[in-house]
């Protein structure tokens, strides 16, 4: 990098890395899918509303279409009947995509250890951040967003799979028949 004289700096020149700018931009506009499964969805809406206001992080824009979204918030109990639909939404999202498992049901099935409930969303799709609670308070969800932001900031444009020359993209998970 050529040496830059100190005079340049007062003329509004900022020195940074591509990674920092790229990740900063992605972090500030992580749009979630407008997707509600169960109880936690109400707390997700509460987090989007006046008191907790995730617009502060540029995340208030819930996209009804998974194609326009970056973040899948799995908020609630995933039943065996719903699991293929969640998977389909995940597969429809474009890279880069992130998943937050919100609440005990999405993490491990929670209190519903029954014939109808999938015991954790990470059995079918990869999860980036787990937010425990039943349901988690909106503050907890916001903390989960902070953790996701930290994760995004640590990624490098050199190594992310969606810019690789031979894209080693993660294979799309396929629906499996429900086990007994």
């Amino acid at each position: 990098m050529p040496a830059m004289s100190d005079e340049e700096i007062p003329r509004n020149i900022l020195l940074t890395t591509v990674d920092a700018v790229y990740n900063w931009g992605r972090r500030g506009s992580t749009w979630p899918v407008m997707f509600g499964l169960a109880c936690c969805a109400i707390e997700m809406i509460a987090a989007a509303c006046a008191r907790y206001d995730i617009a502060r992080f540029g995340m208030e824009l819930f996209r009804p279409s998974p194609r326009q979204a970056d973040l899948l918030l799995v908020n609630g109990t995933i039943t065996q009947k719903m699991a293929p639909q969640v998977l389909r939404i995940y597969n429809q999202m474009a890279e880069p995509k992130y998943v937050i498992a919100m609440g005990s049901c999405a993490i491990s099935g929670g209190m519903f250890t029954s014939y109808a409930v999938l015991q954790g969303i990470d059995e079918i799709i990869p999860v980036d951040v787990y937010v425990p609670g039943c349901p988690p308070r909106p503050e907890a969800l916001v903390y989960g967003f902070m953790k996701l932001h930290e994760k995004i900031m640590k990624q490098s444009i050199k190594t992310v799979p969606w810019f690789a020359k031979e894209p080693a993209l993660r294979p799309a998970p396929q629906p499996q028949p429900a086990s007994e």
Partner: protein, 379 residues
């Protein structure tokens, strides 16, 4: 030059079948409808449930009576308090448990707060479904919901899933700062409901979308077992708080509002009127609440509770309608049968009849006006 258009027959088109849900922004959860459309008119509608079926009724048979309280929270997850209440009432009937005076008042106060909250959210989501985009009405409703949740959290320690009302009373006494906060909140909520009334009721667009849409006749509603605001908006004056008075509702002076049109607009007006009556009850309960114990059954006894053989049905007027729990005991510490008479499922039964002949955009409005929670539908 004018072109003479010959009188043609009605243009014949094929019907189209579309699938709405389970992931749809306006289906209030994971609800799926298969719509058959002729142009934009709904000619057939088939609801498909079960995307949130968690097997609560079966799982509950393997847990003790007190362990089942958290399951009730997660049925209709917007109003946890009233769900706890219905279950507690059934269990009290089954085991013959008395409830102290103060606990009854606390139940009424929190139950009615829940009703106000539910109706405000219902109106907010209805407006969201109507296309008030970027959910402004929901934001307002949630602002007030937070204030009510503060109080519930103060009493129960949890915002949404209180598990606060248990058989024999409530878990703990109200903290000291509860009553002053409530006294401030009630006039505030009154103002908020008035504000909603002024801003929404006479809105021309709302009236055009809601008046005469999704009409439900009183006779059909009774035959289908529909209860709650949806039934009363069709002109049937049936409220379990009056018809089969439970707890201490006979001591309060309140009215059961009724609207006769049975359309989306009437259901909106009905919720507004009911929220006002709830605040009236809270004011009276606040004035009369006595001092004293809050439970007749300490936790150690409750956790070992073994009701005598028999069965009991406890029902309350939950914000959405009649919520009942039917418990069968075989003398052990676990229920032999744990049946939930859920409100939302029965209120949903006439969705097809309400939607036929309307435009596809009205389907979400009608669904929003019924006010369902999928946790309650699928259980």
């Amino acid at each position: 030059m004018s072109v003479q258009i010959p009188p043609t027959e009605r243009l014949r088109t094929d019907t189209i079948e579309i699938n709405m849900g389970p992931h749809h922004p306006s289906t209030h959860g994971v609800f799926r409808m298969v719509l058959t459309l002729d142009g934009e008119t709904v000619v057939d509608l088939e609801p498909r449930f079960g995307y949130l079926h968690r097997g609560i009724e079966k799982t509950a048979e393997e847990r003790t009576y007190v362990q089942n309280v958290p399951f009730t929270d997660r049925l209709d997850y917007i109003c946890g308090i009233t769900n706890n209440w219905a279950y507690a009432l059934a269990l009290e009937k089954l085991a013959g448990i008395e409830v102290p005076e103060r606990a009854e008042y606390i139940r009424v106060i929190l139950g009615e707060l829940t009703r106000v909250m539910n109706h405000m959210l219902a109106i907010g989501f209805l407006w969201n479904d109507l296309g008030a985009t970027t959910f402004t009405p929901v934001v307002y409703a949630f602002r007030e919901r937070e204030r009510i949740l503060d109080l519930i959290e103060m009493a129960a320690g949890s915002r949404m899933m209180p598990s606060y009302i248990r058989a024999g009373g409530v878990v703990a006494d109200l903290p000291e700062e509860f009553m002053p906060r409530l006294q401030k909140l009630v006039p505030h909520l009154k103002r908020f409901i008035d504000e909603m009334d002024t801003m929404l009721t006479k809105n021309e667009i709302f009236r055009a979308r809601a008046v005469g849409v999704g009409v439900l006749k009183a006779k059909d509603a009774i035959n289908a077992g529909i209860t709650g605001p949806v039934l009363r908006a069709s002109g049937v004056k049936y409220d379990i708080r009056k018809a089969d008075s439970y707890s201490i509702y006979d001591r309060f002076d309140f009215e059961v509002p009724v609207h006769t049109a049975g359309d989306v607009y009437a259901r909106y007006l009905q919720r507004l009127a009911e929220a006002r009556q709830s605040l009236r009850i809270i004011e009276q309960a606040m004035r009369d609440i006595p001092e004293g114990p809050v439970t007749s059954l300490p936790y150690k006894q409750l956790s070992r509770l073994k009701p005598p053989k028999g069965e009991a049905y406890g029902r309350i007027e939950s914000p959405k309608g009649e919520l009942g729990f039917y418990l069968v005991s075989d003398g052990s510490n676990k229920p032999y049968r744990f049946r939930i008479r859920s409100t939302s499922l029965l209120n949903l039964t006439l969705l097809r009849e309400m939607c036929l002949g309307h435009k596809v955009a009205d389907v979400v409005t009608i669904l929003g006006s019924i006010d369902i929670t999928l946790g309650d539908v699928d259980r």
